[in-house]
């Protein structure tokens, strides 16, 4: 039987494409923010901050297009859940960009002198977060809840690393007040990464809702 709603399906597919493209942009920002931190590259941090506009534009573009679909195509059931999810997901991905900007600002503050310890756990956290972002958006587009479950598992590890880093950096600060300034900045960065992971978990919840019709917290 021919598909009676090809135009509508094309519009939905375009929303998917844009979400993936927006995700790639946010992912690149996060990657460069980490690189600017590791390599103490203030110029890269500035360039990354400037790219936030691109992510913001994607968000409003997706929101506008989703509204147009609702107004002109009257989606229902799963289609309706999907269009609303796209709006919510775009807002969460935008937050990934915002936190990347915050990491860049911190990276700039840390760029003027060597770090008191090599960065190990923060890059590991960032690696997990990037993978979570990919999995959540891929899960949305390919309707694959297994990817969402995997992503939730990664979020557990991000939380674990955050607590571990927090305790470790507090230890350093108590032992040597000279380290407080740098250590506080690193705690902040790990906090930003942990918050990004929470936003990505929200994306997972939306995907779960689109596919099952059930809205629930996947992770506390």
């Amino acid at each position: 039987m021919p598909n009676p709603r090809r135009t509508f399906d094309r519009q939905l597919a375009k929303l998917d494409e844009d979400l993936l493209a927006m995700g790639r942009e946010a992912e690149a920002m996060l990657g460069d923010a980490l690189k600017a931190l590791k390599e103490r590259d203030a110029a890269l941090a500035d360039a990354t901050i400037a790219r936030d506009d691109v992510v913001d534009r994607y968000r409003y573009d997706i929101e506008r297009r989703a509204m147009e679909i609702i107004a002109t195509q009257q989606p229902a059931a799963r289609d309706l859940r999907r269009v609303f999810a796209a709006i919510a997901i775009a807002a969460d991905v935008e937050r990934v960009g915002d936190y990347s900007v915050d990491i860049c600002k911190t990276a700039k503050r840390l760029a003027d002198k060597p770090l008191f310890k090599p960065l190990v756990d923060i890059p590991r956290m960032a690696g997990l977060v990037v993978q979570m972002l990919r999995d959540s958006l891929e899960g949305f587009v390919s309707r694959d809840l297994a990817l969402i479950e995997k992503m939730i598992g990664d979020d557990d590890e991000v939380d674990h690393l955050y607590r571990y880093l927090h305790d470790e950096l507090c230890d350093f600060m108590m032992k040597d007040p000279e380290l407080v300034d740098q250590a506080v900045q690193l705690v902040l960065i790990s906090r930003h990464l942990e918050r990004i992971a929470d936003h990505i978990t929200n994306i997972g919840e939306r995907v779960f809702y689109v596919e099952t019709g059930e809205l629930k917290e996947l992770h506390q």
Partner: protein
Amino acid sequence: MRDVAGEAGGAVKVEAKGFRLYYGEFQALKGLDAAFPDKSITAIIGPSGCGKSTFLRSINRMNDLIEGVRVAGEIVYGGKNIYDPSVDLTWLRSRIGMVFQRPVAFPLSIYDNVACAPRVQGITKKSELDQIVERSLKGVGLWDDVKDDLRKPAGGLSLGNQQKLCIARAISTNPDVILLDEPASALDPMATLRLEDLMWELRENYCLVIVTHNMQQASRASDYTMFMLDGEIVEMGHTRQVFTNPRDPRTERYVTGKLV
């Protein structure tokens, strides 16, 4: 704003129990079970030929006149199977009114259109008829427009107002249930929205059942939605649930426009 999202409906007014209908050899309705609560609107949706109009017409026995129609099972109203031989059809149709696709204004005055059914019921006193006509026309929001033209032919009204007149006629006998068969299909968009608004007002006092091809209309103007396919009820639920999260994949395909 009226509460359209809340739980709607009182006690069950009409209930189908294993109701089947045959046109000769063809089984059009295959054992339907459905309850229609008072003070609520139920929309019946489904593709052409699914049996939705047949079902609606069965609720006040409009199919009786069609040759070769046989029914089995029950439609219970007022504690009684309406297909029981003891049921008086005039009484039944005064309790369960019907509004059709195209406004069917009788070639009479506005007044006589509304007074017609009460007269058949034996009401002859003018003051009493006047009262019924006024109450019925007020009930559909037509009174102010036509109170000075009651003696003019009903055919002079706009289609939207003719349809309201038909509803006034349906409520002139003080029924419990109003059946509407595609009542807006001949109306323009504004008249359609006004009719839907009227349905919400009537819902305060009646049990309404509407058959519609227009899914947006079903989603706007009902508390419950029943989806029918091939003479069966696939799903019946709160309208908000059926249009956001249907349980059956066939309903999903229909409300998303993918079942043709």
